[in-house]
Amino acid sequence: MPSESTLAATPVLRGHYSDASITDKIADIVLVQPAHWGWIAGLGVAAAFTLLFLVAISYLLAKGVGIWGINEPVAWAFAITDFVWWVGIGHAGTFISAFLLLLRQSWRTSINRFAEAMTIFAVAMAGLMPILHLGRPWFFYWLIPYPNIMNVWPQWRSPLVWDIFAVGTYIIVSILFWYMGLIPDLATLRDSARVRWKQVAYGLLALGWRGEARHWHRFDTAYLLMAGLATPLVISVHSVVSLDFAIGNTPGWHSTILLFSGFAMALTLCIPLRAVFGLRAFITARHLDNIAKLMLVCCLIVTYSYLIEIFMAFYSADPYTIAMTMNRVQGPYAPLYWSVVLCNVVVPQALWFAHVRASPLSLFMIAIVVNIGMWLERFMIIVVSLHRDFLPSAWGMFYPTFWDLATLAGSIGCFALLFLLFLRFLPAISIAEMRKLARRLPRRA
């Protein structure tokens, strides 16, 4: 039974590795190893769901958003829930890679790469959702300020326009940050590759990296700068997404609830990853423990938010907010609220216990539960607030259709597909940073 002290003492890199062995261990996944059956099976399932996603999108474009369950008054439901959820997942990736870089947390090294990949794929999924949810998605670019013959600019007071900038900036910075970190590794792959097309492909992507000291100097400076840029973006994007709601006058859209699912998603991804690709040495119990602790902190913040939301409702004495709060707790969607509380408040309390944090299986289960809980929370915020607002005559209910579920499941499938392909085509752990870590560690030990 592991204790707090043994967990904390677990090194962030288990065993002794030379530069070459680190390179081999990570690059072999991409270059040498035959496809693992688990990977192939996962890819098959993910591809099937991606296909479902494509079908759902095609049908959506052909028929209109009416294939979903949305209505008056619940004009937003799954698509926006999915959007906010994916954005939240994306944030944790940036948090891990950029925030912790700035804070010089060495344990981030082995997980930052795939956390960043997770960010990009999650934000890609997130970015699709608001476009798909439009009544006329082919005119989505009208939200972008561009010179046009209509001489119309977007409505700057609308948070949806801020969204375009926030999410757009975010995805660009995330890709740049990720790609910049990849460059030394791409050069490594170029050099290790034995197949011509791989040499050419990785060679092109490596942008002529030769590992000179000058390169490294500029790389480190730029990488730190990018991290500095990305970090405030986490806050700003989420704030803007929150403003989408806060600007509205719908009761229940005015409180702060934040990124929690991201860490859970990071756990959800890295636990099978280390098992399937034998990376237990690089992603150790220490990593899992640290992410779990971050999850616990987020859980406590979320719990606080829930409590303060209820308090503020009654403190404000606004009858509509009070009615909304009561409706959440005991209305037709009350099971949803209590599920959210169970998933996001009650279950993560298990993370107080060291042996829970030490067990990958229980962590995986908790992470899944938190992911579900966070999705439900967004759904609750959006749908439950909308379905009963000011005039009782206009109250209604939302029931999802098959296509709502297909779009959510399909986007998860598409995300998984991208992630699985990433694992086989790019180094899932930063080789260069692991080498640095390996050199630094023995000295400390």
Partner: protein
């Protein structure tokens, strides 16, 4: 032709205007050339053409050639290049006066036609049954005209035939019996003087032929009741304007009685002032109705017990006709009503419903006589219907003759007796035995399918006819369009039978009136009648009714109070079922229940609890051996131990819209129990059936939504602070104030006048090309109506007070929808309209989320279907929206534009009354008033200056342009219910 609401002023082009125009305009290039060249170029210089100048002139002449409307008409007499419809100007609607029947009673309308296409119906302000308003059925008539399911050919069995072949067959059939033996004609209630004269002529020509009348919603009880009281059938007519105390015994005079549109107007006007003369309304009813919802004092009582209540009331008032009987237990409602009636002799009125047996009517007449109301609040005329024999009896005779093989040929003119004859009449079965039968109808319905010949009828908007209104006023119905599918009217068919081959409906109607009027001055009379839509003559129908001496009315039937009674009611939006294929009416939320696309068995909450059923649970309703299954709808305020079913649903051959919607309640309706049955069994089946209601929450949740005041409170308001007091009039804002200097449009809705009839909803649908979405979409909450009528219940579920509130777009000055639209599709205009730019909308739906009133409607799917005949109905001035686009009430911006163009042309401001929104125009009670808030004299400003005026959700600081006046009730002194 009448040109309300927008006088066709350009047609009147007087000579001085033309002369003035001559100065400003030039007729052609030669004229322009001369003036230009003469003034600018010396005569001796050769004319030199510069390219730019040449292009300019070419452009001018091309523009001139293309747009003749920009120039004035020439002063000389010219001949158009082809025959156009008279008085048509491209792009300008033309209004024709006509009348549309409801259960046989006509109401005057003005049909708006655009380039010859009837597109919208307005009320005829000159017609006494309309006064400018209409009911929902008139509004929807225009969709019926363009219904693609209308039958288009003559059918013999399944073979397509021609009218000529039918006439041949008819001739051959008539030749069998020159005296008309075996020939029967079945019509609905006849209120057309011409049709009646034709039928009389026909029976005179074929002496052994018989004419029968039957329609399911007939006034047998009314005529029998007056016959009982006065010795002759009479038609009562009410003057609510003179009444102070009105007692309704199951009479829905606001929603379904003939003349209800007019009655609603009179009633609302007599209540709008909160002076001492404000009407107090007592209602006793079992099935909640619009009238019941307006009651100040309501007594919920089963339909069968109304007779005893009437007896008790008559006794208490000292009416001799009432037999002594078991006293009704002490009853505060009755005591208050009787006391009030006694205090207001001559200004009181008691009304009995058509559903009630003749005895109730007779008692009510006796009460009104006793109180001296005749001549003040009630008067009698000879029946509006011609030859008002008992229609039930008429049907019985016909079926008996059919069964006895005395009928060789049956001609059914309109109606749908196979569907709606009493279930035990055996009409359908007897019909099988008739060797030759023909049915004239708009579509191939249940009766057509059982007849040899199906004849496509001309629609009311396609044919000539005439019709009487509830007070006997006659309107000549003129066609606004030639028959779309070569249909013919009953007049033309009867003329064929009478041997007047090839006579047009026009000739028949005109000749009838020429005979009646005389030749002298007939042309002027005729033109005047057509133009005004009413024939104004001193009503020859009025009678002074004298109670039969020694009248004594006992309790005829005593229903067992321990059994459940079944009440039949016409469907609020489909009537007797003839409108079942009208998608507007199917989707129109039924007042009170807000149900669409189907009917339900209405029961009280208490009965539902006893049966253990919820709304949507299916019960089996049994009357004797007859059984039907129907979903339950729990209706607060319904009488206990009573169930109401609505007729008009469950059609099997209504068309693509109405077939199979709802359940057929006619299956339980027998001749003996035409309006209500007793000893009914209700058995839950355990099944469920989905119903589509547009409003699922009935309570206001303690929010300040519909304000309810008593008359005393309202009057006190003028002096002191109004409840709820202390509301900040204008809240602070960060944005600079906008001065609306030109026009400033606003609306006021008087909740005290609104009777919840939903005419505004369907009028808006017709005016603004609003699509229908179907039952499954309504169930999803996607109905598209721009103005909805909210209905709330206050008080206990067993005895609720019903409140209505029409909710269109509030046109907020601080519109929450505008700031959140990323593409500026929702913007404000300089006159304060919150406009929606459809072709800019990308469909984020944020505006709808942010609208606290939830009045925005989204095209979730492609709702507008591209059907040629339905396209012809559309208003050319309103964009048809595509899928993915948000839409909402625009304050009828197209009508504002039209008024602006007219005003600009004559160089004046738009004056009050120039712009009448569709909902305002149709409103029977004038609850909706629209106008310019910058005009201090405007009617809307008058309304808004009331201290009672309030904005919905004012605390959100949206500053709506649409505001409300509270519902003001006038409860009896000492009443607990407020």
């Amino acid at each position: 032709m009448t040109s309300r609401p927008h006088p066709d002023s350009t047609l009147v082009f007087d000579r001085t205007q033309a002369e003035a125009a001559r100065q400003a305009f030039w007729r052609g290039l030669d004229e322009l050339d001369r003036s230009q060249i003469d003034s600018h170029a010396p005569a001796h210089e050769p004319v030199s053409w510069y390219r730019r100048e040449f292009m300019k002139l070419m452009a001018a002449s091309l523009a001139l050639a293309g747009t003749p409307g920009c120039s004035r008409p020439p002063l000389e007499q010219i001949v158009p290049y082809r025959e156009g419809p008279p008085e048509s100007t491209y792009g300008k609607p033309v209004f024709f006066a006509s009348a549309i029947a409801r259960d046989g009673y006509g109401a005057g309308v003005l049909v708006e036609t655009n380039m010859g296409r009837p597109t919208k119906i307005e009320g005829n302000p000159l017609h006494p049954a309309s006064l400018g308003a209409t009911d929902i059925f008139s509004q929807a008539a225009v969709l019926e005209l363009w219904d693609p399911d209308r039958s288009q050919v003559v059918l013999n069995g399944k073979n397509v035939e021609t009218w000529d072949r039918f006439v041949e067959a008819l001739r051959a059939r008539l030749a069998h019996a020159p005296d008309g033996a075996g020939l029967r004609i079945l019509t609905e209630t006849v209120t057309s003087p011409t049709l009646h004269a034709q039928l009389r002529r026909l029976v005179a020509k074929y002496p052994r032929a018989r004419w029968h009348q039957y329609q399911p919603l007939n006034r047998d009880n009314v005529y029998a009741g007056t016959a009982l009281a006065f010795g002759e059938p009479l038609e009562p007519r009410y003057a609510f304007g003179n009444a102070r105390i009105v007692v309704s015994l199951d009479a829905d005079f606001l929603g379904s009685l003939p003349g209800c549109v007019r009655y609603a107007r009179d009633f609302a006007e007599a209540r709008r002032t909160h002076a001492a003369t404000m009407i107090r309304l007592y209602v006793a009813e079992g099935t909640p109705s619009l009238t019941g919802a307006m009651a100040d004092e309501k007594r919920i009582v089963r339909s069968a017990e109304i007779l005893r209540l009437a007896q008790a009331m008559a006794r208490a008032l000292g009416v001799g006709a009432a037999q002594p009987g078991a006293a009704v237990a002490s009853d505060a409602w009755l005591d208050a009503a009787v006391a009030d009636l006694l205090q207001h002799r001559g200004s009181a009125l008691v009304v009995a419903g058509d559903r009630q047996p003749p005895a109730v009517h007779a008692l009510v007449h006796a009460i009104n006589q006793q109180l001296g109301n005749q001549g003040a609040t009630i008067e009698y005329t000879t029946p509006v219907a011609f030859e008002p024999a008992s229609e039930l009896e008429s049907m019985r005779e016909l079926v008996a003759a059919m069964d006895a093989a005395q009928v060789d040929a049956l001609l059914v003119l309109g109606g749908n007796p196979v569907y709606n004859a009493p279930a035990d009449s055996g009409f359908g079965a007897a019909l099988e035995r008739i060797p030759w039968k023909a049915h004239l109808s708009l579509s191939r319905d249940e009766t057509s399918a059982r007849c040899d010949w199906h004849l496509p009828a001309a629609h009311v908007l396609e044919s000539w006819s005439d019709i009487r209104a509830f007070d006997g006023t006659v309107t000549i119905q003129q066609p606004c369009i030639a028959p779309l599918y070569g249909g013919r009217s009953a007049h033309e068919l009867l003329a064929e039978i009478a041997g007047e081959t090839g006579t047009s409906g026009y000739d028949i109607v005109r000749e009838h009136w020429q005979q009646k009027h005389g030749v002298a001055g007939f042309d002027a009379f005729w033109r005047d009648a057509l133009r005004r839509g009413v024939i104004e003559e001193p009503s020859p129908l009025r009678r002074v009714a004298v109670l039969k001496p020694g009248l004594s009315i006992g309790v005829e039937r005593v229903s067992d109070p321990n059994t459940i009674e079944l009440v039949f009611a016409p469907d609020p939006t489909l009537g007797d079922g003839r409108h079942a294929n009208n998608a507007w009416l199917q989707e129109l939320p039924k007042p009170l229940s807000t149900l669409t696309w189907g009917n339900a068995a209405m029961i009280s909450p208490a009965l539902a609890q006893r049966l253990g059923v919820k709304t949507e649970d299916v019960v089996e309703i049994g009357v004797g051996p007859r059984r039907i299954e129907a979903p339950v709808w729990i209706s607060p305020g319904h009488a206990d131990d009573s169930v109401t079913v609505y007729l008009g649903h469950g059609r099997i051959r209504a068309g693509s819209v109405g077939t199979g919607v709802g359940f057929d309640a006619y299956a339980l309706r027998t001749a003996a129990a035409l309006w209500s049955a007793s000893a009914v069994t209700l058995r839950p089946t355990g099944a469920r059936f989905p119903l589509a209601a547009t409003q699922t929450h009935d309570r206001m949740e303690g929010r300040d939504i519909v304000r309810l005041l008593t008359r005393d409170q309202a009057n006190a308001c003028a002096k002191g602070p109004c409840p709820p007091a202390g509301e900040a009039p204008v809240q602070a804002t960060l944005y600079p104030p906008v001065a609306y200097e030109g026009y400033k449009w606003g609306m006021s809705i008087d909740l005290g006048s609104c009777i919840g009839c939903a005419a505004c909803t369907v009028a808006c649908q017709a005016e603004n090309n609003i699509p229908v979405v179907g039952k499954s979409e309504v169930r999803r909450g996607r109905e598209m109506h721009w103005i909805r009528v909210d209905r709330y219940y206050a008080g206990s579920p067993d005895r609720p007070r019903t409140l209505f509130q029409p909710v269109p777009c509030m046109q907020c000055e601080h519109a929450p929808c505008e700031v959140v639209c990323p593409v500026e599709a929702s913007v404000h205009d300089a006159e304060g309209l919150n406009v929606q730019v459809y072709n800019r909308c990308v469909g984020t739906r944020f505006c709808s989320n942010n609208c606290p009133y939830k009045v925005r409607r989204f095209n979730f799917l492609s709702y507008t279907r591209d059907t040629p005949s339905l396209n012809a109905q559309r208003n050319p001035e309103v964009t048809v929206r595509m899928r993915g686009v948000m839409e909402k009430c625009t304050y009828c911006v197209q009508r504002i534009s039209r008024a602006r163009i007219d005003a600009d042309k004559s160089g004046r401001r738009i004056v009050d009354g120039d712009v009448v929104t569709a909902c305002q125009a149709v409103c029977p009670t004038q609850a909706i008033v629209f106008g310019d808030l910058n005009d201090p004299q405007s009617a809307v400003n008058q309304r808004k200056s009331s201290p009672l005026d309030y904005a919905l959700l004012a605390e959100l600081n949206t500053r709506p342009r649409t505001t409300y006046l509270p519902k003001v009730i006038n409860p009896a002194a000492g009443s607990e219910r407020a």
